[in-house]
């Protein structure tokens, strides 16, 4: 194996267990994998998954790779991609039911703050929050010399906080609830300026109070199981609070729990339930949450709704497509078009739905188009099965207009 590796054929070493036997060989395979992650940003989900699978092969490979990635994540330029890679790998290890919390804590500097470190380790290892440890963290972070903000920004911890505040019908002890809210708001809003020579760390907490208020207000709305129509009265408040990313994350989680309930659509009378309309608002305000919302919409689009009549099912899926069109109009273009294209190519989606999507998009957008978009979208617009019935005699319909414009302006088509 070492000879194959020495000769430069890393790609040929397909078995991770073979590669992991020797540090030198593993290092080369790891290099190939991380390089592929860095040089193919458009495929990051695939390259991350492959890299994580390899790194999680053993605990020794995990520690080694995380140390390497940790060193690289310190780079000012590009370091944040490495931090994300590290987090994805951690998530993969946890999915395999390995407790990697002590390793994470040995790399994130928590050890210098024993109380916070112990409280966080206890909760992350068990993947559940508890009032005693939350109280310890609350005391630490409301004091004069709080631990580094990065500790409460550990993604798993943030997820647990959001879950306990926004999952429907979770009941938190009212005495402790403000501490959960405080910690989440602190992580979301405080700017920490690291210590410089001769100067201590400083904090900007200007937005802490308003963030606490927004979380509290929306938590109170979400925690009571309200129906669509009852929610209407709270809509303005919800829209206002959704400007805070952390509230938006919480609302997406809450909507996810609510609308993926198997009986949800059976009980809806509105064409578009308020829960899904809230996703539109999240999408307009927060570019960073586009992927998360798209994932949820895909789940809904593909969900079985056997208890609904066929026509009602189609209407429901069209309503989900409306949300996807909104996502596309808000800037999440390539992932949405790619998804619909795969639906069409796989042939398992009712063609009228693809037609609906194409029609809605063509109605909303106009030139100039990016070559990437034209390349992706054109095959669906040109397809007779999809758009045949939409074309008129002349060139005045949106389909013909799009085709004519693109043929005249783009050579790649």
């Amino acid at each position: 194996i070492k000879l194959i590796s020495d000769a430069g054929f890393q790609g040929e070493i397909t078995s991770i267990s073979t590669a992991a036997q020797q540090l030198e060989v593993f290092s080369r395979v790891l290099k190939t994998s991380i390089s592929s992650f860095l040089t193919n940003p458009e495929d990051w989900q695939k390259t991350t998954k492959e890299c994580a699978k390899m790194v999680c092969h053993g605990q020794h490979t995990y520690v080694y790779a995380q140390v390497i990635i940790h060193v690289l994540a310190r780079e000012n330029k590009g370091g944040s991609s490495m931090k994300r890679l590290s987090q994805e790998i951690t998530k993969c290890a946890q999915k395999n039911r390995n407790d990697v919390t002590p390793i994470t804590m040995a790399l994130n500097g928590a050890a210098a703050y024993p109380q916070a470190c112990q409280a966080l380790t206890a909760m992350l290892s068990k993947n559940t929050l508890n009032p005693a440890d939350i109280s310890v963290l609350f005391r630490n972070y409301s004091g004069n010399d709080p631990p580094p903000i990065d500790l409460v920004r550990t993604p798993q911890f943030l997820e647990l906080l959001v879950d306990s505040l926004f999952k429907p019908a979770v009941k938190l002890n009212p005495d402790h609830k403000p501490k959960y809210i405080y910690l989440l708001a602190y992580a979301a809003s405080v700017c920490e300026v690291p210590a410089k020579k001769g100067q201590k760390r400083t904090w900007n907490k200007d937005e802490l109070k308003s963030t606490i208020q927004a979380i509290e207000t929306v938590h109170n709305i979400c925690n009571i199981n309200k129906g669509s129509s009852e929610l209407i009265a709270d809509l303005k408040t919800l829209y206002q609070s959704l400007r805070f990313s952390v509230v938006a994350v919480g609302v997406v989680r809450w909507v996810e729990y609510t609308v993926t309930d198997s009986s949800y659509f059976k009980l809806q009378t509105e064409h578009c339930p308020v829960h899904l309309a809230l996703l539109d608002e999240v999408v307009s305000c927060h570019t960073l949450l586009h992927t998360q919302v798209l994932d949820l919409l895909i789940r809904l689009f593909e969900s079985k709704q056997d208890e609904l009549e066929i026509l009602v099912q189609l209407e429901m899926r069209k309503m989900v497509l409306d949300r996807m069109v909104n996502l596309l109009c808000s800037g999440c273009v390539v992932p949405v078009v790619k998804y619909i294209k795969t639906c069409w190519q796989k042939g398992d989606t009712d063609i009228s739905l693809i037609r609906y999507f194409v029609t809605e998009v063509l109605e909303a957008i106009g030139p100039p188009y990016s070559p990437e978009f034209v390349n992706l979208f054109m095959p669906m617009v040109e397809n007779d099965e999809i758009t045949g019935t939409m074309r008129g005699d002349g060139e005045n319909d949106p389909v013909s207009e799009f085709i004519v414009y693109c043929k005249a302006n783009y050579t790649t088509v």
Binding site: A106, L107, S189, H286, Q292, C329, G366
Partner: protein
């Protein structure tokens, strides 16, 4: 346990740690460790199987902090022996764990070992080159999704604006829905006031 001879200690370790090829360890061994056992382990360490050596070192992560403080010397001595192990995996892992008993943090400055250093340094340097070339931040750390604008900028700087794929000529249906819903909301609010 405290009076075990070397051979007994290594047999015990083998039975505990050497029976599966999976290097993930849950730390079940930790409850049976004490200063005396650790001293025995140090003595028999060089003769253990590689797999057992790795798992033993990895089990350190699962030792409660108060025990680590108590056994700091013994743990450091094992790490010292392991650093000069002939297997590179063992010496690399030991090098990373060198600071762990004293500080609770891993050593990320792998600079002391002649054999391991070039592998580590070359890998880091080659990759650093690629990391620096990252022109735009395609992937942000997961916590960024939660951050207020100002906090986000303080962490990752201003984000580049995304590619424009088309011009919006008409707002999508969702915009009409939004204004309808807001109308209903103010109707509902005024109804509430009246009642």
């Amino acid at each position: 346990m405290a009076n075990m001879r070397d051979s007994d200690t290594s047999l015990w370790l083998h039975n505990k740690l050497g029976t599966s090829n999976d290097s993930w360890t849950g730390g079940s061994i930790c409850s049976q460790l004490n200063a005396e056992v650790l001293r025995n382990i140090k003595d028999c360490f060089p003769d253990l199987q590689t797999q057992v050596k790795l798992k033993l070192l990895l089990s350190f992560f699962h030792i409660p902090r108060r025990n680590i403080d108590e056994w700091r010397c013994e743990l450091e001595q094992i790490v010292d022996v392991a650093v000069s192990d002939s297997d590179l995996w063992v010496s690399m892992l030991a090098e990373a764990l060198k600071t762990f008993p004293a500080t609770g943090s891993l050593n990320t400055e792998i600079a002391d070992l002649d054999e391991v250093r070039p592998i580590f340094t070359n890998l880091v340097n080659d990759l650093r080159h690629l990391v620096k070339k990252q022109s735009e931040q395609v992937m942000l750390p997961m916590e960024c999704h939660y951050l207020n604008k100002a906090a986000l900028v303080s962490v990752v700087g201003q984000q580049p604006s995304s590619t424009k794929h088309f011009t919006l000529k008409k707002s999508p249906k969702s915009a009409i829905l939004r204004s309808d819903l807001l109308q209903k909301a103010s109707d509902a609010a005024s109804n509430l006031k009246k009642s």
